[in-house]
C-alpha cells in the first residue's frame, strides 16, 4: 500500500520534472518562474515540517522536492544549512533514519538479502524508491562522503544560475559519469549494484547534458555543438580539398585503375620530376634571369648583349630563332648575355656570385632530394604489413559502396580486376618452381646475348663518332646528308631497336615481370649511356675548337683596337672618346653559350621526337587498327599490329636522361629548367590522354611498389654522371674573355674568392682559408667516411634482424594454422569413424536381434555388465578412435533396453 503510494508520488514527481525540463528547454525565461516556485515550495515545506507530519509518504516527497529545488543555489553555505536542517529532522524522525540507513547499506552492496525479504512483486516500486532514497541519503551524509559525491551534489543545481566555474564542474562531473558508464562492465560489483549505478548515471548524464544547454549555458552549449559540427564538416572538406590540390591525382588514379600500378608509377615519377623542376626553375628564374633582365644593363649596351652586325639581317628569322640563334642567343636565356659587373642595380645584387651559387645550388638540391626520397622509399618498403589474408581482403572489402557514378563504378571494376590480376601474378610467381637448371642456363644465355648487343652497339657508336670527327676535320660541306647526320641517326636507330631486342631476349629469362622490368631498365640504361658518352665527347671536342678560335680572336682584337686607336687619332685628334656601335665590335666565340645552345637544341629535338612517336606510334596506330579493322582480312585488334602497350621502361629512361641533360646544361643555359617544366607539363597531359585513349593494359599487370627506388637509383647515377662534366668544365676550363658573368677571371669559382675578400671581414676569409686547408679537410672526410660505414653496418644488421623476426612470425602463423587444420581434420575423421561405427553397430545389433533371439539371457547380462559391451566394440575395430565417444553406446542402449 505504502509502496504503491510512493510509486504514484514518484511518477508524479517525474512528470513534473519532465515538464519543467521541457519548459526550460523551450524558454529560458521560464527559469525565473521556477526560482519563484522553488521558493514557494520551500515555504510550503517548512510549514509542513512545522506540522511535523509523521506520514512517510509526504516526507518522502518533501525531501525529494527539496533535493531538486534547493539545489538551485551555488553557495556551499546553503548546503550546510540544509545539512543542519536534515540533521535536525533526523533527530526528529529517528525511526525513519534507521530505516534509511538500513537501505543505504543495502545499496552499498553489503546487505542484498534484505531486499529479498521485501515484497517481490513490487520490485519496480522498490527500485524507484531506492533511487529516491539514494538522493536523500546523499544529502544526509554529505559530510562523510568524499569530494566526488559532493561534486555530484553540486550538479543538482539549476544550470541557469551557474557561474562558469560551476558549469565547468558540472561538465566534469558529466564526463566522469560517462567514464563510469563505460568502465562499469569491468567493475567487480554485484550485478544489481551495477544496474542501479548504470541507470542512475545514465539518467544523470541525460539530464545534465541537456541541462548544460539551458539558460545561460545553453547558448554556449548550442554554440559549441554547432562549432564542433562545423569543424568536422570543415575538416572533411579540407581533406577533400587537399586531395583535389594534389596535381593530377585524379588522372593518375584513373590510369592506375585501368592500367595497374606499374603504369601509374611512371606518372607518379613524372609528377615528382615536375615538382623538382619547378623548384629548379624557381631558383634560376628568380635569382638569375629576372635580376639580370630587370637590373642588368639593357640589350644593345655592350657587345656581349648585342647581335653582331653580320647576323643582324637574319636575327629575327624563325629558323634562326628555332635554333636558338639570333636574338634568342643574345638574351638572358644563355650564359653569354650576362655581364661580369660585380653588383647590379640599386639592390647591389651580386650577379656573378648569384649565378655561380644557383648553379651549384641546383645540383646540390637535386642530390638532396633524390637521396632523401630514396631513403624514405626504403623505409616504407621496410615496414611490410601483414598480408596473410590478402585475397580475402580483396574479396570482401574491395568494393566502395558509396560509389554512385557509373563511370567511377567502371573504374572501380577495372581496378578490382587489375588488383586481382596483380595478386594472382604475385601468387603464381611465388609458387613457381620450374626446372632450375634450364632457367639458369637461359638466363646466362640471355645476359650473354645482351652483352653482345651492348658491346656491338658500343663499338658502332665509337666507330661512327671517330668517322664523324674525321668528317668534321675535312669540313662538313663536302659530305652527304647521311654522313653529316650519321651519329644522330645511328643513336636514334640503336635507341629504337635495341630495347625491342632486349625485350625479346628477356622473355627467355622467365623473370617475374617486376624483376624483368628492372633488368630491361638496366640494359637500356647501359645503351643510353653510350648516347650520353658520345654527346659529351663531341661537345668537348667542340669546346676545344672554340677555345683555339678564341685565342686567335683575342689576338686579332688587340691589333684591331690598336688600328682603330691609330686611325681615329690620325682622322680626328680632337675627339676625346670613340663611340663604336657594340654590334661592330669583334668578339670571341663564347663556348659557354655554344654548350648551352647545344643542350637546348637537344632537349627540343628530344621532346619533339617523343611527341611525334607518341602521335604516330600510339595514336595513329590505334586509329588505323580501330577503323581499318572493319575492312581487313584479319582481326587487327587481336592479331598482329593490335594496340600498343604503354612502355614503362622506355618512358622512364627517357625522362631520366632528359633530366640528366637538364642538370648538365642548366649552368650554361639558365632557361633549361623553364623549358623542361613546360615539356613535362605538356607530356603529362599528352601521355595521360594517349594512355587512356590508345593503349591497352599490359597482359601481365604487376604491382610496381618496389620499382620506385630503382628509378631513383638510376636517377642518382645519371645525376652523378651529368654533374661530372659540368663540374669538370667549371673547374678546369677558363671562362671566355668577353662573355658571361665570369669573363676576365681565370676560373669560374674565383668569384667566391673575390666575394670573400671584398664583401666579408678579413677574419672570415682567414677562417675560410684555414678551414679549406687540406690538413683539416682530409681528416674531416675520413671521419665522415667512418661514420657512413658505421651507420651502414648498423642499419644492415637491423634489417637482418627485422627480416628474421618477420620470418619467424610467419612460420609460427603457418604452424598454428596447420595445427588447427590437422586437429579439425582429425576431429572430422573421428566423427566419421564414429558414425560408421554406429551404423555398423546398429546393423550388427539388428543381426544379433534376428539371429540370437535365443540368447536373451546373455544380452540381458550384457546390458547390465559393461564387459560384453566392450567386447562388441572390439569387433568394430573403431574403439581405439573413440575413447569417450558415446554414439555407438547410445545406439545400443535402447536396443538393449528393448529386450
Amino acid at each position: 500500500e505504502r509502496h504503491r503510494g510512493k510509486r504514484r508520488d514518484g511518477d508524479g514527481e517525474k512528470k513534473k520534472r519532465k515538464k519543467r525540463r521541457r519548459k526550460g528547454a523551450h524558454r529560458a525565461e521560464e527559469g525565473e518562474d521556477e526560482v519563484q516556485t522553488r521558493h514557494e515550495r520551500r515555504e510550503r515545506e517548512k510549514r509542513r515540517r512545522a506540522k511535523n507530519d509523521q506520514e512517510a509518504k509526504g516526507r518522502e516527497r518533501d525531501e525529494e522536492e527539496r533535493v531538486q529545488t534547493t539545489s538551485g543555489k551555488v553557495a556551499k553555505t546553503k548546503k550546510n544549512i540544509r545539512n543542519e536542517n536534515t540533521r535536525r529532522r533526523v533527530e526528529e524522525e529517528e525511526v525513519e533514519v534507521e530505516e534509511r540507513l538500513e537501505k543505504r547499506k543495502k545499496k552499498h552492496g553489503s546487505a542484498k538479502k534484505e531486499e529479498k525479504k521485501e515484497d517481490e512483486g513490487k520490485q519496480m516500486v522498490k527500485e524507484k524508491e531506492r533511487e529516491v532514497k539514494k538522493k536523500k541519503h546523499k544529502k544526509e551524509t554529505s559530510e562523510e562522503e568524499d569530494d566526488k559525491e559532493e561534486d555530484s551534489k553540486d550538479e543538482e543545481m539549476r544550470p541557469e544560475c551557474l557561474t562558469p566555474e560551476e558549469l565547468e564542474k558540472l561538465k566534469e562531473a558529466v564526463d566522469e559519469r560517462k567514464k563510469l558508464i563505460q568502465s562499469l562492465r569491468g567493475k567487480p560489483w554485484p550485478m544489481k549494484k551495477k544496474l542501479v549505478t548504470l541507470r542512475e548515471s545514465q539518467e544523470f548524464v541525460e539530464k545534465y547534458e541537456g541541462a548544460l544547454g539551458k539558460g545561460k549555458g545553453r547558448k554556449l552549449y548550442a554554440y559549441k555543438v554547432m562549432m564542433t559540427k562545423k569543424w568536422m564538416k570543415f575538416q572533411r572538406d579540407f581533406e577533400n580539398f587537399k586531395t583535389a590540390c594534389i596535381p593530377w591525382e585524379m588522372k593518375i588514379k584513373e590510369i592506375e585503375s585501368h592500367f595497374g600500378s606499374s603504369v601509374a608509377s611512371y606518372f607518379i615519377f613524372l609528377r615528382w620530376m615536375y615538382g623538382i623542376n619547378m623548384i629548379l626553375f624557381g631558383l634560376t628564374f628568380g635569382l638569375v634571369m629576372v635580376p639580370e633582365a630587370l637590373m642588368g644593363r639593357p640589350y644593345g649596351s655592350m657587345p656581349r648583349k648585342t647581335v653582331p652586325r653580320s647576323e643582324e639581317t637574319s636575327a629575327m628569322d624563325f629558323a634562326v630563332l628555332w635554333d636558338f640563334g639570333g636574338y634568342a642567343q643574345y638574351s638572358v636565356l644563355f650564359y653569354g648575355f650576362y655581364n661580369n659587373q660585380r653588383a647590379i642595380g640599386w639592390l647591389k645584387f651580386r650577379m656573378p656570385l648569384s649565378y655561380f651559387l644557383v648553379g651549384v645550388g641546383t645540383v646540390a638540391y637535386s642530390y638532396m632530394v633524390v637521396i632523401r626520397t630514396m631513403a624514405r622509399n626504403a623505409n616504407e618498403s621496410g615496414v611490410g604489413d601483414d598480408n596473410s589474408f590478402n585475397f580475402s581482403w580483396k574479396m570482401f572489402t574491395s568494393w566502395d559502396y558509396l560509389i554512385g557514378n557509373p563511370e567511377t563504378a567502371d573504374n572501380k571494376f577495372a581496378s578490382i580486376t587489375t588488383s586481382f590480376k596483380e595478386a594472382i601474378l604475385e601468387e603464381q610467381e611465388s609458387h613457381k618452381d620450374d626446372n632450375i637448371h634450364l632457367t639458369r642456363f637461359l638466363r646466362v644465355l640471355a645476359n650473354f646475348l645482351v652483352l653482345c648487343c651492348l658491346a656491338g652497339s658500343g663499338y658502332l657508336i665509337y666507330f661512327v663518332v671517330r668517322r664523324s670527327q674525321k668528317f668534321a676535320l675535312d669540313g662538313l660541306e663536302n659530305h652527304t646528308w647521311w654522313e653529316r647526320n650519321e651519329v644522330n641517326m645511328v643513336m636514334s636507330l640503336l635507341g629504337m631497336f635495341c630495347p625491342m631486342l632486349f625485350d625479346v631476349i628477356s622473355t627467355l629469362e622467365n623473370y617475374h615481370p617486376r624483376v624483368a622490368l628492372q633488368w630491361q631498365l638496366g640494359r637500356i640504361f647501359a645503351l643510353f649511356l653510350g648516347n650520353l658518352y658520345t654527346f659529351i665527347i663531341a661537345l668537348m671536342d667542340e669546346i676545344n675548337l672554340k677555345r683555339e678560335e678564341e685565342k686567335i680572336v683575342k689576338f686579332n682584337i688587340t691589333t684591331w683596337e690598336a688600328s682603330l686607336y691609330n686611325g681615329t687619332i690620325s682622322e680626328n685628334s680632337t675627339a676625346p672618346s670613340i663611340t663604336i656601335n657594340p654590334a661592330d665590335v669583334p668578339r670571341g666565340p663564347c663556348w659557354e653559350t655554344m654548350v648551352g645552345q647545344e643542350f637546348v637544341r637537344l632537349i627540343i629535338s628530344d621532346t619533339m621526337t617523343t611527341y611525334i612517336t607518341l602521335l604516330i606510334g600510339d595514336f595513329l596506330r590505334a586509329v588505323l587498327v580501330r577503323f581499318l579493322n572493319y575492312c581487313w582480312c584479319w582481326d587487327l585488334e587481336a592479331g598482329f599490329p593490335s594496340y600498343s602497350e604503354f612502355d614503362v621502361s622506355g618512358n622512364v629512361l627517357g625522362l631520366i636522361f632528359n633530366q640528366g641533360m637538364i642538370w648538365m646544361g642548366a649552368f650554361y643555359a639558365p632557361c633549361l629548367p623553364a623549358l623542361n617544366v613546360l615539356r613535362l607539363h605538356v607530356s603529362m597531359y599528352l601521355q595521360c590522354w594517349a594512355v587512356m585513349c590508345c593503349n591497352v593494359p599490359q597482359e601481365r599487370v604487376f604491382k610496381a611498389s618496389g620499382s620506385n627506388n630503382f628509378y631513383m637509383a638510376m636517377l642518382l647515377v645519371i645525376l652523378f654522371l651529368s654533374t661530372l662534366p659540368a663540374i669538370y668544365t667549371i673547374v678546369t676550363i677558363p671562362p671566355s674573355f668577353d662573355c658571361g658573368p665570369f669573363s676576365g677571371k681565370n676560373r669560374m669559382f674565383d668569384v667566391i674568392h673575390e666575394t670573400l675578400e671584398s664583401d666579408f671581414p678579413a677574419w672570415f676569409s682567414k677562417v675560410f682559408s684555414y678551414a679549406s686547408n687540406p690538413g683539416l679537410v682530409l681528416p674531416f672526410i675520413l671521419l665522415m667516411v667512418l661514420a657512413i660505414y658505421y651507420l651502414q653496418s648498423t642499419s644492415k644488421s637491423y634489417r637482418q634482424a627485422n627480416v628474421e623476426l618477420k620470418k619467424k612470425l610467419q612460420t609460427q602463423n603457418e604452424e598454428n594454422k596447420k595445427k588447427n587444420k590437422r586437429a579439425a581434420l582429425k576431429a572430422q575423421m573421428d566423427l566419421e569413424e564414429a558414425r560408421k561405427a554406429a551404423s555398423q553397430a546398429a546393423e550388427e545389433q539388428k543381426n544379433n536381434n534376428a539371429s540370437l533371439q535365443g540368447q536373451e539371457d546373455r544380452q540381458l547380462l550384457a546390458s547390465r555388465a559393461p564387459g560384453p559391451r566392450t567386447y562388441h566394440h572390439g569387433n568394430h575395430g573403431a574403439s581405439g578412435y573413440l575413447p569417450g565417444f558415446s554414439e555407438p553406446r547410445m545406439c545400443r542402449v535402447p536396443s538393449l533396453q528393448r529386450h
Binding site: R185, L198, S392, M395, L825
Partner: protein, 195 residues
C-alpha cells in the same frame, strides 16, 4: 517533407523504431520521407524495383545481394519497420553506446551484426557458410568477364585457403570474423545518417 512524413508516422511507431534501432527521432522522420519518396507504388512498402532505382545500388556488383538483405526470406515487400531494421546495421557506433546495456541484446549496429550482415551478402544459400561456389558467383559479379574462369577459381581457392581454419573448404562466420579482424568494420560499415 519531413513534417508530412512525420504526420504519416505515428508517434508510438517512432518510439518503437527508436527503441529497436537506436535512430533518433529526427533521423527516423527523415528516413521515412526518404522511404516514401522511394515508394513509387505508394502502398507503404518497397519492392525490389524500388531499390533498384537507387543509382548506388544499381551499379553495385553486389547490389542485388544488398537489396536481398532488406527482404525477409520469401517476401518481396518490405515495410518501413523492416527497412529501418536493415538500415540500423549501418548506424555508426557511438562511444556512449559501447557498454550501454550489458544485459540487453546486442544492438543492430554492433560489430558482430555488421559483420553478419556482410557475411550474409556472400552467403547466398543462407547455410551460414561461404562455399567455393558462392565465392565464385560473387567474384563473377565483381570482375565480370575480365578474368578467366580458371583464374577466378584460383582466387576463390586461395581465399578459402587463407580463411579456412577447420578444413571444411568453406568459410564459416567465425572464420569470416577472424579474416576481417584487422579491418575497421565499425567505421567502414557505417553511414553518416543526418541528424
Amino acid at each position: 517533407m519531413g513534417s508530412r512524413a512525420s504526420t504519416l508516422l505515428r508517434e508510438e511507431e517512432i518510439e518503437e523504431i527508436k527503441k529497436e534501432t537506436g535512430f533518433s527521432h529526427s533521423q527516423i522522420t527523415r528516413l521515412y520521407s526518404r522511404f516514401t519518396s522511394l515508394d513509387k507504388g505508394e502502398n507503404g512498402t518497397l519492392s525490389r524495383e524500388d531499390f533498384q532505382r537507387i543509382p548506388e545500388l544499381a551499379i553495385n556488383p553486389l547490389g542485388d545481394r544488398i537489396i536481398n538483405a532488406f527482404f525477409p526470406e520469401g517476401e518481396d515487400q518490405v515495410n518501413f519497420r523492416g527497412f529501418m531494421r536493415t538500415l540500423a546495421h549501418f548506424r555508426p557506433i557511438e562511444d556512449n553506446e559501447k557498454s550501454k546495456n550489458p544485459t540487453a541484446s546486442e544492438p543492430l549496429n554492433s560489430r558482430t551484426n555488421k559483420l553478419l550482415f556482410a557475411f550474409r551478402l556472400y552467403d547466398l544459400d543462407r547455410d551460414d557458410k561461404i562455399s567455393r561456389d558462392e565465392l565464385l558467383q560473387v567474384l563473377r559479379m565483381m570482375v565480370g568477364v575480365n578474368i578467366s574462369d580458371e583464374q577466378l577459381g584460383s582466387i576463390a581457392d586461395r581465399t578459402i585457403q587463407e580463411a579456412d581454419t577447420n578444413g571444411d573448404n568453406s568459410i564459416s562466420f567465425n572464420e569470416f570474423i577472424k579474416v576481417l579482424e584487422k579491418v575497421d568494420v565499425e567505421q567502414k560499415m557505417s553511414i553518416r545518417f543526418l541528424h
